[in-house]
């Protein structure tokens, strides 16, 4: 019995240390006063956190990543919500094929998506890097959008649309009056999942970078190959807190985990 009582706290202690510990170290290292990345941190200062905000390329790539995460997710939702609705409410020939097509970007390694986009869209069609990144991120988020919105539609009885129609509403009106209000939580969750996925995404964006156009994580990788001070740690910590904060709020107010 004794062994069993110890088993649980020891196992969980080790696993959580392994999973969370490195993140805490990053946070601690970013408060260091020293010149190099080290743990335990040498002294305490906010200088590296302050430095993050002065690096110009970080600022540009942060805006780029924000634009991709928000714009790409919105575009994926605009494509994904009608598709999910069709897949869950209509008897559609080839529904499985369509579902496979829109979910495919999740299966294929991101680096391949990025490379093939570069080779066969950007180069032959003279598409700008920003637009290519936008397309790539939209394609990448689309599977998540379809999955989460579908799950949320699946929890909603489909006869309420028919009830609305019988009470005089048009089909489109029924969608906006009784479907949309009831899947709002799912859509918000899809948005957050898409945002976090896009923001943290590296391999897709790796090949799609040009002069002055880069996503933040790609920029960070490039930066840390040259500079070995705690500023990357500080940026990592800041980004992590941003993601955690968003997801925490989402869970609090939307019950995010129901849909994911």
């Amino acid at each position: 019995m004794m062994a069993r009582n110890l088993f649980i706290p020891i196992t969980l202690g080790l696993v959580i240390t392994f999973l969370i510990g490195p993140f805490l170290i990053i946070v601690a290292a970013s408060f260091s006063a020293g010149e190099t990345l080290a743990f335990p941190p040498q002294g305490f200062s906010l200088r590296w956190i302050a430095k993050v905000f002065t690096v110009e390329s970080f600022r540009d790539s942060f805006y780029m990543s924000m634009f991709l995460a928000i714009g790409g997710t919105l575009a994926a939702l605009i494509l994904g919500i009608p598709a999910s609705y069709a897949l869950s409410r209509y008897k559609l020939p080839g529904a499985e094929t369509i579902r496979t097509i829109v979910s495919a970007p999740i299966i294929v390694p991101g680096i391949i998506v990025g490379l093939s986009l570069l080779r066969y869209i950007v180069v032959p069609f003279q598409v700008g890097i920003t637009l290519a990144l936008f397309l790539a991120h939209t394609a990448l988020i689309l599977p998540y959008a379809v999955r989460v919105v579908s799950a949320s539609l699946g929890n909603l009885r489909s006869d309420i649309e028919e009830a609305a129609v019988l009470l005089g509403s048009s089909r489109l009106g029924a969608f906006f009056r009784v479907v949309l209000p009831n899947i709002r939580g799912g859509i918000m969750s899809a948005f957050i999942l898409g945002f976090v996925t896009s923001f943290n995404q590296v391999p897709v964006s790796l090949f799609l970078s040009g002069p002055g156009v880069r996503t933040l994580p790609v920029d960070m990788i490039a930066y840390m190959e040259i500079v070995f001070d705690p500023s990357v740690a500080a940026l990592s910590a800041l980004l992590a807190f941003m993601s955690i904060g968003i997801v925490f709020l989402a869970e609090r107010f939307l019950g995010f985990s129901r849909y994911v």
Binding site: F23, A83, P109
Partner: protein, 285 residues
């Protein structure tokens, strides 16, 4: 279920066409590049050439090895962790599960970067080793398979634990006590009761972890450096350093085939076990 076909297509086609144009078409063309003969026509010489290089073989085997190893270790730790979590009281269970999921929200760049601080020359591990007198000079842990292994495990372990938590929660409540009453020891309980009843969870978790290892780029890039390559980093090098798009296409197909093969194989394993279970049940009755 609505019947109107035109309406349904109008709703579903934009997304499907978008994914087909932006994603499927370019990827398919890229994959076909590996089979194009220089003078026109088709050939598999790029593949034979790729596998004839001992460097490529090593990278391929390393990718396979790390994928399998990480998946197995994740499953072992995952069972222990998931088992510990489901035996917590409900309030605590939610909090601990939250802590397990938390790292998934953190940028993989940040998560991988932390290991430099820990495993680097002046990192925590080396400091500890030297302080304890285990080693004199700093060990080279970074830029090794070990470092990649640790990084990948940390990256994907949460996926395995979550899959196993839901599998364990869906298990009939009395299965374990029933087996204990019948005299099974914990090892037997695991093999005869828990594993068969949660195999779907391991299969889902295993697929996620293994596919994750194949598609992870950041971890091998940062923790493996330019010497200890995996297929993803090799692909990147082939394109950026050697400008060899044919090799990139070959690697891309290998990665896709590997993840599909893993998918199918794991599903097979799950159903095969199912059959033997049903058979033994049949004879017992």
């Amino acid at each position: 279920m609505f019947q109107n076909r035109a309406e349904a297509l109008a709703l579903a086609l934009p997304a499907a066409l978008f994914a087909a144009a932006v994603f499927i078409a370019p990827v398919v063309i890229l994959l076909s590049d590996g089979f194009r003969a220089p003078g026109g026509g088709w050939t598999i010489s790029a593949y034979t050439e790729f596998f004839s290089s001992s460097l490529n073989q090593a990278v391929f085997l390393r990718t396979l090895k790390l994928g399998v190893l990480v998946t197995i270790v994740a499953a072992v730790i995952g069972y222990a962790a998931a088992f510990a979590i489901v035996s917590l009281e409900p309030g605590k269970k939610g909090k601990v599960t939250g802590l397990i999921v938390l790292p998934l929200m953190i940028s993989p760049v940040a998560r991988t970067y932390a290991w430099i601080v820990i495993l680097g020359r002046t990192g925590i591990v080396n400091q500890a080793f030297q302080a304890l007198g285990i080693s004199e000079a700093p060990l080279r842990i970074l830029f090794s398979e070990t470092a990649i292994f640790i990084g990948l495990l940390q990256l994907f372990l949460p996926l395995m634990i979550i899959s196993l938590i839901s599998a364990l929660e869906n298990m009939p409540k009395d299965a374990i006590p029933a087996a204990r009453v019948l005299g099974a020891n914990w090892f037997q309980v695991f093999w005869k009761v828990i594993l068969p009843l949660t195999k779907e969870g391991v299969v889902i978790g295993g697929t996620l972890v293994f596919t994750g290892c194949l598609t992870a780029y950041i971890t091998p890039a940062i923790l493996g450096g330019s010497k200890v390559l995996m297929l993803e980093t090799l692909l990147y090098q082939q394109v950026t350093v050697s400008n060899n798009f044919v090799a990139a296409s070959v690697i891309a197909l290998i990665l896709i085939v590997m993840s599909f093969a893993a998918n199918i194989l794991l599903k097979r394993v799950a159903t095969a076990r199912n059959k033997t279970m049903r058979n033994t049940k049949g004879t017992a009755q």
